[in-house]
Amino acid sequence: MAADTVFGSSHVLDSSSSTSSHPLSPGAGVVPAIENVVSTVNLGCTLDLKAIALHAPNAEYNPKRLAAVMIRIKEPKTTALIFSSGKMVCTGAKSEQQSRLAARKHARIIQKLGFDVKFNGFKIQNIVAAYDFTFPINLIRLANSHFKFSVYEPELFPGLIYRMKQSKIMVQVFSSGKIAIAGAQKRDEILKAFENIYPILMSFRADK
């Protein structure tokens, strides 16, 4: 859907030293894979966490550590944090639709326990995608030339953190060529960021 519109021309530059599989702009259909979707929803009623922890299947509750019940379901494989205010965070889904479905399943679990549960304000908060460029990347050169957007402290974290100036998307670039794009609330934000970073990374290849 949106993926197709984002990618305009998919011309391949023969003159580029890169392999044909990595032109300066991603070819049609070359998209990062979504790995995680985080969403929130308001169940619209206060919840008794202790009762939930006692009666819900697969529930974890350690109030000393976190004031929320963690419930896991198998399909979609997700974990939900449920707070006493009735707000719920659903993590681990692989797509937006799955995240919504999972959130509904979690809400259903709570509903079955007898709470007057609604499904208010479902919102995708974060989408994380990953992609493998398969060529090594010179992070130091990248950090030096894009110092305005890059944070690279190898002693702290082996990946370079690239923040796009026009959006709040964050890209983690690793020297192996793998990247992670996070912070998007919509799928096309991911794709846009990917399209922006693609040529940049191409120019900092670390192999011939």
């Binding site: 697969n58 509750y61 007057d116 479902f122």
Partner: protein
């Protein structure tokens, strides 16, 4: 005969308990020996009905004949073993009366547990006296330790007999000082609690009006790997002081257990802080009302919140979102969730009821070390001292 081992253990437990409370019953205006004998008779009869005791010599004359009915009365949930009739191992002298306490950790895969090697109970396990074991003398009692507690739930589920309350309460005087200091020792007590699945939850909850501190444990792990007990530690010892004097009979037994076990504190995992840790999943079942008043908040939504919320969703709906907020009519789908409940069948249900030492998780791989547990697998009752298992969720 393999089954005799479990049966022996249970019989020993019954005898031990009865003999220990005999004094209480007879002296000081207790209920009296007749009542005691009747108690014993009823207990044995129920065990026989459940099929876990065999070859019991008629102890109390004039009692109802024990009927070796087919397994199960609907009353008996998980907690009451259905048939202990087949053991996998022929009990050797070592098994029955092991000289050394507690060793032999039994690696037991919780899912699809193999029969062999599980039965360590007789091997000097610690049971009530984890500590005492050093003398190794309590072998008989030890395996049985679970059973008195196991037994009581069934009467609970039916009717509330005075006995049932007592067992849970346990621990009396003398226990206080010790326990207060050591805080929550997950002795005995609660692990018999409960019913698989949701069936008896409400029942049990109602049975413990007293401050809710004997809240039955609901594992809720209804998956295929449901054998893994999310056995929660019990803070039974904590409540010693609260016993009514009327319940001293049972409490004496438990006091004995408690005292002996108090020598070496048994802890499930880290020593919890008195307040917060009471609420965490391992300890939540012994939750005291005092601590967590917050969590007893009524579920009714605050009206203000609702009204504030509705305008927003309505606006969104106007934009054209498909059944966004509100309609959570998910009676459609969620087959996965529903199947969990349907998996309950009295006879073939597999379950492990134990206290946990450690439960850890890495991504979707869970590892559990359990202790002092009873497994009911393939209609067999298996007792163990230690069990370790992992599963994937």
């Amino acid at each position: 005969m393999a089954s005799s081992t479990t049966s022996t253990v249970y019989i020993h437990v019954i005898e031990d308990v009865i003999s220990k409370v005999r004094d209480e019953f007879i002296n000081n205006g207790g209920p009296g020996e007749t009542v005691l004998n009747e108690l014993q008779g009823i207990w044995e009869m129920k065990m026989m009905q459940a099929g876990v005791i065999s070859g019991l010599t008629e102890r109390s004359s004039g009692q109802k004949q024990p009927t070796l009915g087919g397994p199960i009365t609907p009353v008996h949930d998980l907690n009451v073993p259905y048939e202990g009739n087949e053991e996998y191992e022929t009990p050797t002298a070592d098994m029955l009366f092991p000289p050394t306490p507690l060793q032999t950790p039994v690696p037991t895969p919780l899912a699809g547990a193999a029969d062999g090697s599980m039965y360590n109970i007789p091997t000097g396990s610690s049971d009530y006296p984890t500590p005492v074991n050093d003398s190794g003398g309590n072998t008989d009692v030890k395996g049985g330790r679970p059973s008195p507690y196991m037994q009581s739930p069934s009467p609970w589920s039916n009717q509330r007999t005075p006995l049932s309350v007592d067992v849970n309460v346990a621990y009396v005087e003398g226990r206080d000082e010790v326990d207060r200091g050591t805080s929550h020792q997950p002795l005995t007590q609660d692990f018999f609690m409960m019913s698989s699945g949701k069936r008896k939850r409400e029942d049990f909850a109602k049975q413990y009006p007293n401050g809710g501190y004997n809240i039955p444990q609901q594992d809720g792990a209804g998956d295929s790997t449901s054998e893994v007990a999310k056995a929660e530690g019990s803070n039974g010892s904590y409540f010693l002081g609260r016993c009514d004097s009327a319940t001293t009979a049972k409490s004496k037994i438990l006091a004995h257990l408690a005292r002996s076990s108090s020598k070496i504190p048994q802890l499930d995992g880290p020593i919890p802080d008195p307040y917060d840790d009471m609420l965490s999943t391992p300890n939540i079942y012994n939750y005291q009302g005092v601590v967590n008043e917050d969590y007893n908040v009524v579920n009714t939504p605050a009206p203000n919140d609702l009204q504030a919320a509705t305008p927003a969703p309505v606006a969104q709906n106007d934009i054209g979102h498909d059944d966004d907020d509100e309609p959570l009519n998910e009676d459609d789908d969620d087959d996965d969730l529903d199947d969990v409940d349907q998996g309950e069948e009295l006879n073939t249900q597999h379950l492990v009821l134990a206290q946990f030492d450690k439960v850890t998780r890495t991504k979707s791989r869970w590892k559990c070390t359990l202790k002092d547990g009873i497994m009911h697998i393939s209609n067999k009752d298996i007792l163990f001292n230690k069990a370790m298992g992992d599963f994937n969720f």
